[in-house]
Symmetry: C2
Subunit: 227 residues, 2 copies
Amino acid sequence: MIGGAIAETEDQPLTEQIAGKIREMLISGELSPGAKLSEQQIAGQFGISRNTLREIFRLLTSQNLLVHLPNRGVFVATPGEAAVVDIYRVRHVIQKGAVQAAVPSHPALRRMREQLAQTGRAREAGDWRRVGTINMEFHRSMVELCDSARLSACFDLVLAELRLVFAQFEDTAHLHEPYIALNAELLASLEAGDIDAASRQLDTYLLRSERSVLAALQRRQVSGVGG
Amino acid sequence: MIGGAIAETEDQPLTEQIAGKIREMLISGELSPGAKLSEQQIAGQFGISRNTLREIFRLLTSQNLLVHLPNRGVFVATPGEAAVVDIYRVRHVIQKGAVQAAVPSHPALRRMREQLAQTGRAREAGDWRRVGTINMEFHRSMVELCDSARLSACFDLVLAELRLVFAQFEDTAHLHEPYIALNAELLASLEAGDIDAASRQLDTYLLRSERSVLAALQRRQVSGVGG
DNA sequence: GCATATTTGTCCGTATGTATA
DNA sequence: CTATACATACGGACAAATATG
């Protein structure tokens, strides 16, 4: 019995299944940034062949989640300060375009309203990991105001990378808590069709968020990795 | 002697080499949009194994140049009108961000000035394929005003796709010729630090360019593929 | 600095399921 | 409906590069 290790898990290709699992492990912090991913070990761990795993590595590398060093292997990406600065530049440009394209009747706004409510409930429950996840989905929905699949895909990449940054911290509460209120104001402006106000509020949000993420990164480097 | 087919071609990994070659064939139109890429045939053509080729296919698929249909194989992407509309939305958002971030002393502006001159020379020489290539590099340089590697990478993807659109046409002269003058005006505004004028000129450029590409696509569908 | 062990890069052959003629 | 072709996935092999003692 050769290929029968996993058979009853939907009709999705095996590569997609495992790629999704590894992606989950990456953004959940289960695989520490900088860690080397041995082909033999990971392949054995998931019960797949090295060839199949290498295809998966290529996928995740193209999504900036893994780094490929020729003849040395693949490693979990370690987004540092430079990456954070770059990521927030991307966010600034794309999300600025999103608020500029916003129309009050756009379905993405309804989704954002829902996600905002979910964020509030998660905060009350003290589930900060969930707060972070929903917060990112909130901003993802915002980008959908552009009605561009490619722009959303690009944004998804940087959000996944940003999660990799957050995965380096233990306490992420202070990285999300202060910004729920800002999100609420921003959404209200969008719903009211006040583009200028929304644009200013977005600037405020991104500036503060970037600063706190950078500060957290620097704290981490001083106090030790501890992962 | 097993892996010694290609040895004296730099120290670049084989996958990167072949991926580059196939990418060249795609954007040059050598591989027609919609064509099926058989693993066996392509692998034999380049003298590589199917395993290696599959890794390459994953790479090019993640760059929107190939389309992967599970259990059916990979095909050259056929960007249609919907893709063009989407691509120009991306261009609008990103390039708008670029002109907004422009400062007259930025080195990218010098590169754009050079490329504009090259475009003029290529036009005089009647080399329209080169005009198109340099024109795209001109806009690529513009995006570098953002100083964001990720934004540039995202932009590269849509430009590569756009080349796939152009690859469906035989005559691309009228798709580039009228816009050299617009590029010159836009660059002059950027060099003068007149963001507002540059922003308006960018809108004009993108609107007209998108319209002419869409029109060419529709003409193609009427008159037949002819590949 | 060198010999050795490990790992990557790439190949081949083969079995199995899915799509198409 | 059967048969063929092909994509998917497996395992094993070996050279070259890298890491290790």
